[in-house]
């Protein structure tokens, strides 16, 4: 059985970490999560569960994390500040810790205008940097945001995301530094398609010494088709898919699209592994979770370490 804080141990013991993303279903069937968890088990060190990704209503991240935990996986609870105010966020932090969840990833969340309930009120009581700071304060100082004392501190490994491909580019490492200063111990990045730009971001990250204070995991997404590549480029906020990649996907016959996507993905993994300061990869195979074992295997990242 994987220890509850597997990810933290893998990283602190200096292993190259592999995490993957699992999107909960748009329904109440727990077997959807069990199936995805079953595919990932033994191939990754931890599984991120998205929180109503792209503002579309899905099974709660917390519930899905518990289903994965019961299967012996180490879940990463993703939590956005879009839908919860500071009362709900802090309450969920306590609840997650009580249920044995040991990793949390604090995010802003995509704006609700992208999702299935564009008429929803957006909360944004605190932002993602302040949320990281809040979880750190709850854990390390035993205090709520109000300053009142917590009886029974939460125990969580704190993560954040950063998008090296958003603008303004020159602020992107500084913003990661801000999150690490606030308390983030690991950083998972937006999907890397533009390796050259990612390497330039990492140069700034190293110049600021962020990689020495937090573990940086590069986001990896296998492309399924040229259509998906174009969609990601044009319709997903903050995504940088170079035209060359879209052309490359389109240059092979249809039945080879997936193979080409996996090949590109393996090349990307290889490239980011060679960048100084990268501590692991985070695979976001959007609605294609069953490809993850193949990718991890072909990338030569098996077997996964079993940390002491």
């Amino acid at each position: 059985m994987t220890p509850a804080n597997n990810l933290e141990r893998v990283l602190t013991q200096g292993n190259f970490a592999v995490t993957a993303e699992c999107g909960p279903p748009r329904g109440a069937d727990p077997d959807v999560i069990r199936k995805k968890g079953g595919l990932l088990k033994g191939h990754v060190d931890a599984v991120n569960v998205t929180d109503n990704q792209t503002a579309v209503v899905r099974m709660s991240s917390m519930a899905s994390c518990i289903i994965l935990k019961d299967m012996g996986l180490d879940p990463v609870l993703q939590m956005t500040v879009r839908d919860r105010n500071r009362i709900a966020l802090q309450s969920d932090v306590l609840g997650a810790s009580a249920l044995g969840i040991r990793n949390i990833l604090c995010l802003s969340g995509d704006h609700q205008s992208f999702g299935d309930h564009p008429g929803a009120k957006n909360v944004h009581d605190i932002d993602s940097v302040q949320f990281v700071d809040t979880v750190r304060m709850m854990r390390d100082e035993g205090k709520f945001l109000s300053g009142q004392e917590i009886k029974g501190r939460p125990d969580l490994f704190i993560g954040c995301v950063e998008n090296p491909f958003a603008d303004p580019f020159e602020i992107r490492a500084l913003r990661a530094a801000k999150k690490v200063k606030a308390g983030a111990q690991f950083v998972q990045t937006q999907c890397v398609f533009n390796v050259e730009k990612f390497a330039r971001w990492m140069e700034m990250v190293r110049a600021l010494g962020i990689h020495k204070k937090a573990h940086i995991l590069a986001g990896i997404t296998p492309l399924k088709s040229p259509g998906m590549a174009r969609y990601m480029k044009n319709s997903v906020p903050g995504m940088d898919v170079p035209d060359g990649l879209i052309e490359r996907m389109g240059s092979v016959p249809k039945e080879k699209h997936r193979d080409e996507g996996v090949t590109i993905c393996l090349e990307t993994i290889d490239a980011v592994r060679n960048i100084e300061g990268i501590a692991g990869i985070h695979i976001m195979a959007i609605e294609w979770e069953d490809i993850v074992p193949e990718i991890v295997k072909q990338a030569g990242l098996l077997p996964r370490p079993i940390p002491a």
């Binding site: 205008s113 605190i126 906020p237 903050g238």
Partner: protein
């Protein structure tokens, strides 16, 4: 100023359907500046209503008046007598004006002819944009004069989020990212080093979140 849009004409016609004597009430402040509820717009709407009712074969007595301000008792009090001749008031003022006329004349239905949108500025002729949300604790001194509360779609205090692209907000390509503007100005002023400070969570109790607000100045009250 407060910026508003006129409601669709059909909605207005449905609203006044039960009435045959309607006073159209404009306001000489914000809604005049944003060209939705001044004397001119009141006259235009009155003419449209008359024509439409005539086409429907139903008479209507449409009065027109514009107050200096509909949010001030000094002007609202002057309405008293003229209201006797009407069944309803159709106000072209912002939501504040509509309510203030209504609370001063509880016996009279007062209907909104506009949708009140935001507090903003005239960016160029015919274009208005939001600038302030009245949060009750202004931070513009710390954000280079650009409001992250009203102008960032996520009201982020430590921005920009991961959706900022080419100067635009993730929500809409036509919408400038407030944080791109803040960073640009920090750079221009050689103050980018201040960016590394983590801004702490805000106290929203001074905002609408603390409940409806009131301001009292003892020295001015009667």
């Amino acid at each position: 100023m407060i910026v508003a849009d006129r409601k669709p004409f059909d909605e207005i016609m449905d609203m006044i359907a039960p009435y045959d004597r309607v006073l159209l009430l404009g306001c000489n402040e914000c809604v005049t500046v944003c060209a939705v509820g001044g004397t001119k717009e009141t006259a235009l709407l009155a003419a449209q209503i008359r024509i439409k009712r005539q086409a429907e074969g139903r008479t209507v007595d449409v009065g027109e008046r514009t107050l200096e301000r509909q949010c001030d008792p000094e002007y609202v009090n002057t309405l008293a007598e003229s209201l006797d001749d009407y069944d309803a008031v159709l106000s072209l003022a912002c939501g504040c004006g509509v309510q203030f006329v209504a609370e001063n004349y509880p016996g009279k239905p007062v209907l909104p002819a506009v949708n009140t949108r935001f507090m903003g500025v005239t960016e160029q002729p015919g274009m208005w944009a939001e600038r302030c949300q009245g949060c009750g604790n202004c931070v513009l001194d710390r954000t280079q004069g650009i409001c992250p509360v009203a102008r960032c779609a996520k009201s982020i205090m430590n921005g920009p989020c991961g959706g900022s692209h080419g100067g635009a907000c993730e929500v809409n390509d036509q919408l400038p990212c407030a944080w791109q503007l803040i960073i640009d100005r920090l750079k221009a002023r050689g103050k980018l080093d201040t960016y590394s400070e983590v801004e702490k969570p805000r106290d929203w109790s001074t905002s609408r979140d603390g409940g409806p607000r009131r301001r009292v100045r003892e020295d001015m009250t009667l």
